[in-house]
């Protein structure tokens, strides 16, 4: 996919446990979306989640910052267990950044204000310091010159990079990405993936739902395949792509690698 710039694999030493999911189930009414999910993510680990549409990928990563509630099992993020305790939930959300498919930038705030909103109101950071941090991350995603524009004035790729910068401004320990490139035109995908690869290089713990298999090969420590609410198979990218065990994985890979 975006091989030229990013051939060499990202490697890193892994640390302690960042996310621990045990026997987690979730229902939407009668519908059993997530069935017995078990997952350990180490600090610095980069996980790519793939699977057919409707298999529960989004739902699973949204459980990690409790945008969705699970009904059974445990989720422990950065040592904090997710229950109904609002303080715990907010504590987890402070340390977990999330990037959405449709960016979800705040249209009434400038790029700069988007980036400083949470540091100012959650981290209680002085404005100048928050702006300095924001500028640092906007430079890192290569759009410092857009700081005083409104999101509506940017291209899709630029908006998604702002969304990444906005999350990074909270200095999170974990980043969740839910199909960050699938609403983008092909020529903008690379600019977003490059930012994500850069982030991986710096050792960020990442869980990324994506169908960009080139990205998975370059960045992931582990690829997880989900189907019908279950984790069917997980492996190192090389093994995963060259030697898939489950036949559903084989079918899925043959479908998406065709084009």
């Amino acid at each position: 996919m975006n091989e030229e710039a990013t051939q060499e694999r990202v490697t890193h030493t892994l640390g302690d446990i960042a996310i621990k999911i045990r026997e987690m189930h979730k229902w939407y009414g009668q519908f059993h979306v997530l069935k017995d999910i078990n997952l350990d993510v180490q600090n610095g680990e980069r996980i790519v989640v793939c699977g057919p549409s409707g298999s529960g990928k989004s739902t699973m990563i949204r459980c990690i910052n409790r945008l969705e509630e699970h009904q059974r099992g445990d989720i422990i993020v950065d040592g904090v267990e997710l229950t109904n305790d609002l303080k715990n939930i907010e504590a987890v959300r402070r340390e977990v950044g999330m990037v959405f498919q449709h960016f979800n930038l705040f249209p009434h705030l400038t790029v700069m204000e988007n980036c400083t909103l949470a540091p100012i109101w959650v981290r209680k950071m002085p404005k100048a310091e928050a702006e300095e941090t924001a500028m640092k991350y906007l430079e890192r995603v290569k759009i410092p010159e857009q700081a005083h524009k409104y999101p509506g004035q940017l291209s899709g790729g630029q908006q998604q990079r702002v969304a990444i910068a906005r999350s990074l401004c909270m200095n999170p320990k974990i980043m969740l990405f839910d199909e960050p490139t699938s609403a983008l035109d092909p020529e903008m995908i690379k600019e977003v993936l490059d930012v994500m690869i850069e982030l991986a290089r710096e050792g960020m713990t990442m869980i990324c739902v994506t169908h960009e298999m080139g990205f998975a090969k370059t960045v992931a420590n582990r690829v997880i395949f989900m189907d019908e609410g279950q984790i069917i198979e997980q492996n190192e990218p090389e093994e995963f792509f060259n030697n898939p065990q489950n036949e559903r994985t084989q079918l899925f890979l043959s479908q998406i690698l065709q084009h």
């Binding site: 959405f100 979800n104 909103l117 109101w121 509506g152 909270m170």
Partner: protein, 402 residues
């Protein structure tokens, strides 16, 4: 390459005459159209007014506002300024203006509060509250306002007791079909301290808000501005009021003959008009508020929560500022509607502009042209004031889009 050759190989360039070229220029055309439209409108109005004056002259009527200083010789039951039947028509008109302003301001106030409550209830996940709000909105919106006014007025006048059998509230306030009689405050000298504290509280809160923002920018510290404001404006003056031994005398209404005397009275016409206008407009505002809040996509809330912002801050910093942009323009037109609809006051004898200068004064003097022009000019002024304010507010919060 190919398009280039195509251009060169094209046929002879058509020459158009200069008039056609001017007419087809976007900017020139818009200017010309505007000039023509303005001239036509002025010509039309000039013709209409000339025509009306000429026709009136033929009937032996001149165009003259001198009648305004003649005695009105009719009574107005609710007058917030000195007025009796010997006062002039101009004075009657002023009483009418004050009454219209009173109903418009208090109506807008109540309709806004009720409307926002309805809008939020309409969005609630609780089936019962949601349905109740829905039924209320559908019923109220689909029955003409005049009927609401007559209904509320009828209920008040017929179901409330006569003054002799008044139902009292703690023996100081009395509900009757002649109005709602309440004690009238008569401040003692020491009361000014409470007043001064209140004003100081307001000024302090205003200044403190700015200060708090500056401190937050500089150090990140967040003050509970709202709570401190409530303490300064409400709590401190109230405590002072109690400590000073409640320095207010209450003039309590008393039954004398067939009616209560003294105290303050709110007349049934005012209550009926106020409630009917507010309940009616609130139904529309409720729908506007609901639409405004649902217009902010759930993704906005999720993005804000995912950043660690608590629910209340998400609402204040992300959802409400965006919802207001959708709510304010149609809200402004509801305010205009309410103000203009208040002219239905005449149906139950509430003496507003329409009932005074546009009603009794007009009938007594026969000066239709003058009175109608005055009434129109007054409503136009109110409407323009409201729109100017709402436009100003809207431009402050407008969304910047590509």
């Amino acid at each position: 390459m190919s398009s280039n050759t195509a251009l060169q190989g094209g046929g002879p360039v058509t020459r158009r005459n200069p008039v056609s070229r001017l007419w087809n220029d976007k900017q020139t055309r818009s200017v010309i159209v505007q000039i023509i439209a303005t001239v036509l409108i002025f010509a039309f109005f000039f013709y209409m007014v000339q025509n009306a004056i000429a026709n009136l002259e033929r009937l032996g009527k001149d165009f003259d506002f001198a009648f305004l200083s003649a005695p009105a010789s009719y009574d107005i039951n609710q007058h917030l300024i000195e007025y009796d039947s010997r006062s002039s028509h101009a004075r009657a008109m002023t009483v009418g203006i004050i009454n219209t302003l009173l109903i418009a301001v208090s109506g807008i106030f109540l309709a806004t509060i009720l409307g926002f409550v309805l809008g939020v209830l309409r969005l609630s996940k609780n089936w019962l509250t949601n349905k109740l709000a829905h039924v209320y909105i559908e019923y109220v919106r689909n029955v003409p306002l005049l009927l609401h006014i007559l209904l509320v007025h009828g209920l008040l006048v017929h179901s409330l007791p006569k003054p002799k059998q008044a139902s009292s509230v703690g023996d100081v306030a009395f509900l009757t079909n002649r109005g709602f009689f309440m004690p009238k405050p008569d401040p003692e000298p020491l009361f000014w301290i409470v007043g001064v504290l209140f004003v100081i509280g307001l000024i302090f809160t205003f200044l403190f808000r700015r200060y708090a923002r500056k401190v937050q920018d500089a150090t990140g510290k967040i003050y509970p501005v709202f709570r401190i404001g409530v303490i300064a404006v409400v709590v401190i003056p109230s405590v002072a009021f109690i400590l000073l031994g409640m320095p207010v005398n209450w003039e309590i209404p008393e039954l004398k003959g067939f009616n209560y005397r003294g105290g303050m009275v709110i007349r049934p016409e005012f209550i009926a008009l106020w409630l009917a206008l507010s309940f009616y407009t609130a139904a529309f505002i409720g729908e506007i508020v609901r639409a405004g809040i649902t217009a902010v996509s759930h993704g906005q809330t999720e993005a804000s929560l995912a950043l660690g912002l608590p629910r209340k801050r998400t609402l204040n910093l992300v959802v409400i500022p965006q919802a207001l942009r959708v709510i304010v323009p149609p809200l402004a037109s509801q305010y205009l509607n309410l103000t203009k609809n208040s002219s239905l006051a005449i149906a139950i004898g509430y003496m507003d502009i329409t009932a005074t200068i546009g009603g009794i004064s007009l009938n007594q003097t026969g000066r239709e042209m003058e009175c109608m022009l005055i009434v129109m000019a007054l409503y136009l002024t109110f409407s323009l004031l409201i729109s100017t304010f709402m436009n100003w507010y809207n431009s402050r919060i407008k969304l910047v889009e590509r």
